[in-house]
Symmetry: none
Subunit: 189 residues, 2 copies
């Protein structure tokens, strides 16, 4: 670990804190090769900014910090289910706070409650890459139901979505269209 900017070190502390449940001052000092005093000062700053919590002997994630996206204990903010990697949906708000949904279905419902500007990333159903949800194509109500019903699958590429739909049915919709479909009451076929 050579030559790292103080602010970068602080960012790494926050990041690492979300993976581990807690870190000792010693662990941090050894890892970044600085004195314990420096870690103390870093943490004081992070606490003042609300990015971490200082406890005797070390630090823990800020009280309002949700488990990091992709970590095993992340829960859907809507239905409480565990978040499968396959269908992850992550929303980052203006203040950097994050929420996750178990699938685009819950993701859209979450979006309908949202206030203010936010970025939304969703996992492409075929390749697992994260894609800006506002630029993605969705297949709603196909025969493939992984999570919630009606199933909503996210595709980074429109042609992938079309080919999928040819085989498994469902409607092809963009973000706005899928949003309407999710929030409108209607009756099963």
């Amino acid at each position: 670990m050579d030559e790292i900017l103080p602010e970068q070190r602080r960012a790494k502390i926050v990041e690492w804190l979300q993976e581990e449940q807690s870190l000792t001052i010693d662990q941090l000092a050894r890892h970044f090769e600085v004195s314990a005093m420096t870690i103390h000062r870093d943490l004081d700053l992070l606490v003042k900014e609300g990015r971490a919590r200082k406890v005797r002997g070390g630090a823990m994630p800020a009280a309002d910090a949700l488990p990091a996206p992709g970590s095993d204990q992340s829960q859907c903010a809507m239905c409480g289910k565990r978040v499968p990697r396959r269908t992850t949906w992550v929303v980052t708000g203006e203040n950097g706070e994050q929420q996750q949904a178990c699938c685009p279905h819950c993701g859209f419902l979450m979006h309908s409650h949202a206030t203010g500007q936010q970025s939304t990333l969703a996992a492409d159903f075929l390749y697992g890459q994260m894609v800006n949800a506002h630029q993605a194509t969705f297949v709603v109500g196909s025969e493939v139901t992984l999570c919630c019903v009606p199933g909503v699958l996210c595709f980074a590429s429109r042609s992938d979505a079309e080919r999928f739909q040819r085989g498994f049915g469902g409607k092809l919709l963009d973000f706005a269209g899928a949003m309407v479909a999710m929030t409108t009451a209607h009756h099963g076929h």
Copy 2:
């Protein structure tokens, strides 16, 4: 169990308390390999912070501890019963606050008290998938009574509901219809 931060130990106590309903001082002391005195002090602190309740010989969860949706001990906001995964009902309000019901029966009653916009998710009776309750089909008063009476079962697919009804009776209703059925007084068959 090596080298654990005091605050992390306290957090684990709270967590463990929500899983088990109660723990003795001895259990805790042995598990964390500290003296009973230390556990006493931990609990005093947790009590002062309202995170746990101290009882003679051990500790119990704080009275107001409401478990997260999907956790094993979440309680119905209407009747107080434990929420079975099979019939979970989750409502998210405008401000992001959440309530759960033990089954659609309590769910509809909860809804009748609701103010403002909200999203409602319910578990499909057959597959357990979460479905937007406003898009689901309900079978009311069938011979299958899991939770409250009259029993209300939730189906993501109308045809599933029809097939179920053919076997077990009851009325087929959409959200609005089931809502009326739940909130209208009527007399047994």
